[in-house]
Subunit: 331 residues, 2 copies
């Protein structure tokens, strides 16, 4: 064990000083002093669980600030819960650190988690800390709750449904391009905004909760809009058409990239958006737009569900745009 005056704390000191305070509002976390945590679920609710691992050099960049790395790790999981209509409750953090951890770095990391715990009302309830000879790896398991039978599935889109997406698409993909080059040089405000969208996505939690009973199918856009809608198309056994010119593009992205079919195609096939894409019957359109206003979330109708298979991108003439790839794949 390292003395508490060291700048590189030991494993248990790290847990006690930095992580245990993040668990203090969750009685089932036992102050992170036990092998496991307890979760109580009320009898009219089901628990929604998801896990996503983030790896340095794959999901974030080595130079990204520690507090945004922490936030992104938590938020991509909260985004999964949001897309399922689940209310976030708690999370487990498995942290594999490449060397004896630096106290300043870890403090900033824990601060990022603390800020997001407040914003999204979740608590750390347990985890695991190990050393790795490889890159920093963060696996978060997130827990949310839904009233029984109300989780929004990927399966459920029906021919005749409309297709919607939250926020704007393509920002994070372009942001990554900027972040990968030297960020020490001067960047425009627009470029900085796109990098921020890559580093710190916004999980659409309030919108997701409001979509229960409205959306027929939903998921969060992580690999790319078309690639992810392809998943809905597959499990729902439908065709999904997206109109390229209706895809919501941010002012920042348009200022930098102009507005062209190429830009929209790139936007629809790049990853890391963490927006909710969903389908719903036309009769629900007004209610959805009302929900969007109430939750102060931009929601845009971008296409339709048809008989057939696969998700496709159409140009303004209604012709299918050939895609080199539909989104990001790991292998």
């Amino acid at each position: 064990m390292t003395s508490s005056s060291s700048d590189r704390p030991g494993e248990f000191e790290l847990i006690r000083e930095l992580f245990a305070p993040l668990s203090k509002s969750a009685p089932g976390a036992f102050g992170l002093t036990d092998d496991a945590a307890l979760i109580s679920v009320s009898s009219d609710e089901e628990l929604v669980v998801t896990v996503d691992a983030l790896i340095e050099g794959v999901h974030f960049l080595p130079d990204d600030p520690p507090h945004t790395i922490a936030k992104k790790s938590l938020r991509v999981n909260l985004s999964d819960l949001a897309a399922k209509g689940a209310e976030p409750k708690a999370y487990l953090l498995a942290l594999a650190l490449p060397e004896r951890p630096d106290r300043q770095w870890l403090r900033a990391f824990a601060r990022g988690l603390a800020e997001d715990q407040k914003e999204f009302r979740v608590s750390l309830i347990g985890g695991d800390t190990t050393r790795t000879p490889g890159p920093l790896t963060i696996a978060i398991t997130a827990f949310g709750a839904v009233p029984c039978g109300t989780m929004i599935r990927r399966k459920g889109a029906k021919s005749g449904d409309l297709v919607f997406v939250s926020g704007t698409i393509g920002d994070a993909g372009m942001g990554l391009d900027f972040a990968e080059v030297d960020t020490s040089r001067d960047l425009t405000i627009e470029a900085e905004a796109l990098i921020e969208r890559y580093r710190c996505p916004t999980p659409r939690v309030r919108l997701g909760l409001a979509l229960r009973g409205l959306a027929s199918a939903a998921l969060d856009v992580s690999d790319g809009l078309i690639a992810d809608l392809d998943h809905i198309a597959e499990v729902s056994a439908v065709r999904i058409e997206v109109d390229a010119d209706r895809i919501p593009i941010s002012r920042a992205l348009m200022d930098i990239g102009g507005d062209s079919v190429e830009l929209r195609t790139d936007a629809a096939t790049s990853g890391d958006d963490y927006e909710i894409a969903f389908t719903a019957p036309p009769a629900k359109r007004d209610e959805i737009l009302s929900v969007a206003r109430k939750t102060k979330t931009q929601v845009t109708e971008i296409g339709r569900v048809m008989k057939g298979a696969g998700a496709v991108l159409l140009n303004e003439d209604g012709h299918e745009i050939p895609l080199a790839k539909k989104g990001f794949t790991h292998f």
Copy 2:
């Protein structure tokens, strides 16, 4: 996407072919086709959750067989549940693969999981597959159930309680020593047995369930017997004395290492045992030995709980054995 005839399957093919079949008995897994899984908990039960990440070169060796790597990853988590008296139910698998996965390797990995799912009655319900520039990393989140209020905590040991441990201690520590040298040369049956204990621990699930209401405190021994009992001592605010000559040592370990205070000290401070160490009032001794017989699990009384602080190892004269370390630490 890779064609199915390739020896290096794509991400979604991998999930569909190898992992989706592991989820077929869990309706809330949705065949691994959704962003999240659903867990229902009956109103008289609580959910026990734990996560452990295993990393190549840290928790297992690069040459370990894929099916034992899979089993160890699952079993170390089942061991946590067992120590809490929880009945294993389901798990999430976050897999970070260092290159495009080899189909044969992955088939053997999935076979290991399938065998253990049958043995321990658990189901895969979700997960995450990514590529990593680093070593193979496997984070498993395991879910178990306990009747409300019955989880066995680390906190609860009382002065006057007895200390017990399941199985034998030190096998895996010595097994790792053998496995780290060239395993292609001829090894004795005893050495092979110890390596197997390192590669594939036995979670004491049936014993753990039977200890509800009997044990005052419990945990699974992963960092080392004394180091882990130190955790019970700390949260229970007691002193724990372990008699070195009562620590259960396997025939294989004794045949190789002889029987000495040094061997017993090494055994009590090396990691990877995955046995349950627990405390209980003397009045429960007979019931505990009866439970041990019924669950066909070796259980040995090894010490006592006193007023004071910390876990210590005593020699046959009752003097404290000085320890260079109490167990394994990552930092």
